[in-house]
Symmetry: C2
Amino acid sequence: MTLTLKEIEEARARIAPYIVRTPLLRLRNLDEHLGCEVYAKPECLQTTGSFKLRGALNKVLSLSEDELERGIVAASSGNHGKALAYTAKMLGVKATIVLPYAAAQVKVDTIQNWGAEIVRCDVAERFEVARRIAQERGAALVPPFNDEAIMAGQGTAGLEIVEECPDLDAIVVPVSGGGLIGGVATAVKAVSPAAKIFGAEPAMLPRYSKSLAAGHPVTIEKRETVADALLSLIPGDVCFPYVKAHVDAIADVDEEYILKGMKLVITEGRLLCEAAAGIGAGAILQELIPVKETDKVCLFVSGGSVSIEQLRMLEGLAI
Amino acid sequence: MTLTLKEIEEARARIAPYIVRTPLLRLRNLDEHLGCEVYAKPECLQTTGSFKLRGALNKVLSLSEDELERGIVAASSGNHGKALAYTAKMLGVKATIVLPYAAAQVKVDTIQNWGAEIVRCDVAERFEVARRIAQERGAALVPPFNDEAIMAGQGTAGLEIVEECPDLDAIVVPVSGGGLIGGVATAVKAVSPAAKIFGAEPAMLPRYSKSLAAGHPVTIEKRETVADALLSLIPGDVCFPYVKAHVDAIADVDEEYILKGMKLVITEGRLLCEAAAGIGAGAILQELIPVKETDKVCLFVSGGSVSIEQLRMLEGLAI
């Protein structure tokens, strides 16, 4: 565990020219629904549509010139792939993104439009293919979360939150492998130790609640969830100790409440968010996170990768 | 024409405790689509979901205690009605909102939940009914736009925009009766005279382009538009001189481009906006407003009153 506030502050200086400093929003329209004073960190408004740009940029900007010349490689059809393709475009670096044959065409197009080389393969082989390409070319494989430079980049969002609202009572962060919450919790606990950090993961994939109970990362059974950005089956071994040290509790949120949270953030918060980004609101709606009327609670709205067509799943759903 | 920067600054001090100071957002994801550096003033994130709260609050807070005791009345099932009902609730004033029988139940419920008395009538009679109620009770009739106190309130959003980005090249503002653009243009031209103010109205209801050509307010033929917050058939006579004096040009935007603009702001800007609030992006997409790559252009995203179900109209639409 070598990640501290210092590395996160350095990451901030490194990535500042390239990212949007998203504002901390006060979403009064959500107060009655959630029973507290609601704030949001809208990383759906970040360039490329998610917080992933922060970590990707910090990692790539930390590579040597030699490494940069040989390019970067990643296996991701989601927000990480978009963030890396955009990072490579901005920095003039060659990116290779490995995508499963099944990836939605709109995602393939976006990544291709940013100039990345695309390699297609079977979904089960994608990490192996990426590793092989990186090895053959001497290119840098950029992991999605299990890396302290990635975590430091994500942590910059935590710094921004507590700087804008130093007396925040709690932050609710979506959880998958643990890169985001590990970075954010490290930053927040260093600056505002009284602020509680709650994680929210799909009840269908409770990798962190199971692992924290066991005291070490355990692999859970693969199941489906609407929160398709939160699919890790095991905590990252680099991330896990940070989550264990700094996170106050993990909420396992039912599918119905993930969707309710997503609908609330979209229709009352007026932020277009993906299911994974609505899970924090869902956790409070499901009463998994204790909040009081006077508490200042920040929802970490992690991303907005959702199509108009996908929003049909929210029709008729009561919040 | 007695509205000046002074009244707008006074309005700002008056309403500050009650409104959200919405941030000026930098929407880099829209740059390539619109061919300029895109900013947004997201009044869809304002409490009640639109800028209308600013004007309603300024007007009601300008009433005498005697007037306040007798209550306030308005005829609006839209953003103005919501803003007034919420204003009345916050200030502990009795509000009566006149709604057509045809008003959507969700709107009726929202207004009722904020404690306003609701009077139903035929749509054609609603202004007459509101006037009669106001007269009978000695209550204050709060107009939606044709009033300098309302315009001063809306103008506070303009002040905020140019304070956060003093070297903005242009602001594109949705236009109906002229209360919003009249207030915003008065504020902006006083502080940053070099910033251009463009209005965007539905080509189906070109009340401002016709009236500016005629030199006085003219009534246009009633037609349908998807931008259901921009339905005025004639400029407000109080608003018109301000628009004539301060607005650089009016764009008449086709229905298809209003929807394209709405879809762009939602899917790439990640802000849930109603059709009226997407019209500025639509005007640029339709090439009705001249912009250069280096121009800093702010879209005034006026409101977010749209249901998940209504978003179906954007499915399959190419931006």
